[in-house]
Symmetry: C2
Subunit: 408 residues, 2 copies
């Protein structure tokens, strides 16, 4: 029989209650102790005692709360301490990036280094990333933000337990162990540095800051998505599934890999070893090749593609339409398997929205009519920092869930 | 904020503990009170009190336990009461079936009526099924089994909250409400009759009685699967996903629909309204048509197909190989999305194993090498009663989880 939780250990209950109160403060910045008690079902005395510990830990701070629509004298509200933060780092096929997110949710520093990383060895990249992380840590210190932990996100399948990149075919990485490198990104941080998949990070960013967030209208959708597929368009095509407002990662953490859904039985060979994968039709390199853009003669192929499209160049238009057509097949199959009826497209798919959306819509209507209603087909507004923000926000949540480690 | 459980309500705790003890008895028939206490982490006094209630409810009974490898005098063990049971009913495209499963897990009665149900109205089918259910209830009563509840399983997407068949294209059903018909299948039963999807029921049967069950070797696999895709081969092609030994049903309960994964962009139109779905290549009708079997001239087309295959008839062999090829593409895409590395095939795929397996294996190796290791590609040994047994066992579990309703 599987281990069951030992009943009645006070330590565990207090840990859970700390996490409950912190989640309440995160969701509802400025809440008073009384409001946190009402929300959580805990007693006021219990909340007060937990808040005393949290104030001492430095994770939260008090503010004077004067909330709309409330009467009487202002109470003391609680917010996550904006003088605490996390580092996020990203390795992608054509850039490296780092960022600092404070506990107020603001990206206070962000640096991107454009670089062709295909075929790079980890020993080439990690020193560059370490130098960027050091700069970020210095900037954070100058801004008065103490970094408690971080996350590195990569375009490949990862083993988060062992900190191994299992397969990142577009980097040329297989079974790359990063357990020694990760702590070096942030040597002093009490909560260390974790590893994640870039498409999953971007999906979580979309959940927390984009189409999944509770900001009502905007972004062209009918409100927020609780269940959706996020599709990351980079050199590779990745995907992340959000179900019931949580990442659905699957048994090994690799669910949602739409880039390797087979969209044509006789399609091109793929970097993954398969044949006919969506990535071979809709990844950046595939679109550039099909649009006749010579990668050797241009440093900014996406700008060139967009300029061809703006001029109505037939080859470019048809390359993007073909990508949209196969994207629709991949979305149809993925949505059937995961029982999803909403999609958010990011990366180059968002940049190409104007040209790719009609072909994608037509393909969906042909292969899975009614499955993804028009208002549920959305493009990300988060831009290139999506994955970085998602990784950072994941790190914040991890730290808040382990807050008890800071409490004596 | 979402509702949080009210802390410390004794009623809830006792309900949970009842379910915990019942699950222990189900998993480990013959366990003593002391063993149940050790397993569950509850005190012996608490287990004894819960067991007293459960004996009174009639859900469990005492036996003399003399378990292997134990010393001392035999204790009193507890088992689920085999004089309690459930009804399962199945509507499929070419048959109706009912069965009675007792709480000891034995299928004590089972009846199948071969019948072409394509295009049947619910008002044609339900009277037939009601008559079969009545016979089953009589047989159960004669065998001394009291039926406490049941489940009807159908080849389509269902809304289990409202008891509506949303879409069963191969029956020709759309938005068929069964909330009045379901209780009539078992008018006296305290726990009523629920509705489910046939492929999900068969997937659960595979989990509990087939390749997911803890029976070590056998069935040609390296032990049990905790995460797998079950593929139901009937007139339609359905699928069910088991992740971490639980059904992964997705946001609306329709996950795993591999039959409508697109395997060829220019493939045939499908009953679902799409194009190029796996079902149009690997469903029974598709294979018969491709094998040149005239459905008008034979009552048992599968027998005829098997006889052609046994004679090495080229057209039949190539029809089944083509189905296997496209099945491999559908499995590759589904496994990528759900992060699954094991597959169990049932229905006609199991009957055709000898001829379909090599083509399926070849297709998987071409489109997703390494994704499904050879030992993880398995065929169901449960035969035609799989879905029925899965639906029945689901009903038993539901009743055990609601056991508190029988306790004053």
């Amino acid at each position: 029989m599987a281990a069951t939780p030992a009943p009645g250990r006070v330590g565990d209950v207090r840990r859970q209650n700390l996490a409950l109160v912190l989640a309440g403060i995160q969701r509802n910045g400025g809440a008073t102790r009384a409001q946190l008690a009402a929300e959580s079902g805990l007693t006021k005395a219990s909340v007060s005692s937990l808040v005393t510990d949290l104030l001492e830990s430095g994770l939260v701070q008090e503010i004077t709360a004067t909330r709309d629509g409330e009467r009487g004298r202002p109470g003391t509200g609680l917010v996550l301490n904006p003088a605490r933060g996390v580092l996020a780092a990203e390795i992608n096929v054509d850039y490296l990036a780092v960022g600092v997110l404070d506990f107020a949710g603001e990206l206070v520093f962000h640096e991107t280094l454009e670089r062709h990383n295909r075929g790079s060895r980890p020993s080439d990249l990690m020193p560059l990333l370490l130098a960027m992380a050091e700069r970020a840590a210095t900037m954070a210190a100058d801004a008065g933000v103490e970094l408690l932990g971080g996350e590195l996100t990569v375009p490949g399948l990862v083993d988060t337990e062992r900190n191994v990149v299992l397969a990142a075919p577009n980097l040329g990485w297989a079974d790359v162990r990063l357990s020694e490198e990760l702590p070096r990104l942030l040597p002093e941080a009490p909560f260390g540095v974790t590893l994640s998949n870039e498409a999953n990070s971007a999906a979580l960013a979309e959940l927390w800051f984009g189409h999944g967030a509770d900001h009502g209208a905007g972004h062209g959708t009918n409100g927020r998505f609780r269940d959706f597929l996020y599709i990351s368009g980079e050199v590779g095509v990745g995907g992340g599934l959000v179900i019931a407002s949580r990442l659905f990662a699957g048994p090994q953490g690799h669910a949602g890999e739409i880039g390797h859904v087979v969209v044509h039985p006789d399609g091109p060979l793929c970097a993954c070893g398969g044949q006919g994968c969506l990535e071979t039709f809709a990844g950046q390199e595939a679109i550039y090749a099909s649009a006749g853009i010579d990668r050797g003669s241009t440093a900014k192929p996406m700008d060139e593609l967009l300029s061809h499209l703006a001029q109505g160049a037939e080859r470019a238009v048809s390359a993007v339409q073909q990508a949209g057509h196969y994207l629709g097949i991949g979305v149809a199959s993925t949505a059937r398997v995961a029982n999803i009826s909403a999609v958010v497209l990011g990366g180059h798919f968002a940049a190409l929205e104007e040209w790719i959306a009609p072909a994608l819509r037509g393909s969906l209507d042909r292969h899975a009519p009614g499955l993804i209603p028009p208002e549920n087909l959305a493009f990300s507004g988060l831009g290139r920092t999506g994955a970085l923000r998602g990784a950072a926000a994941t790190s914040v949540r991890r730290i808040l869930s382990q807050a008890y480690e800071l409490i004596p």
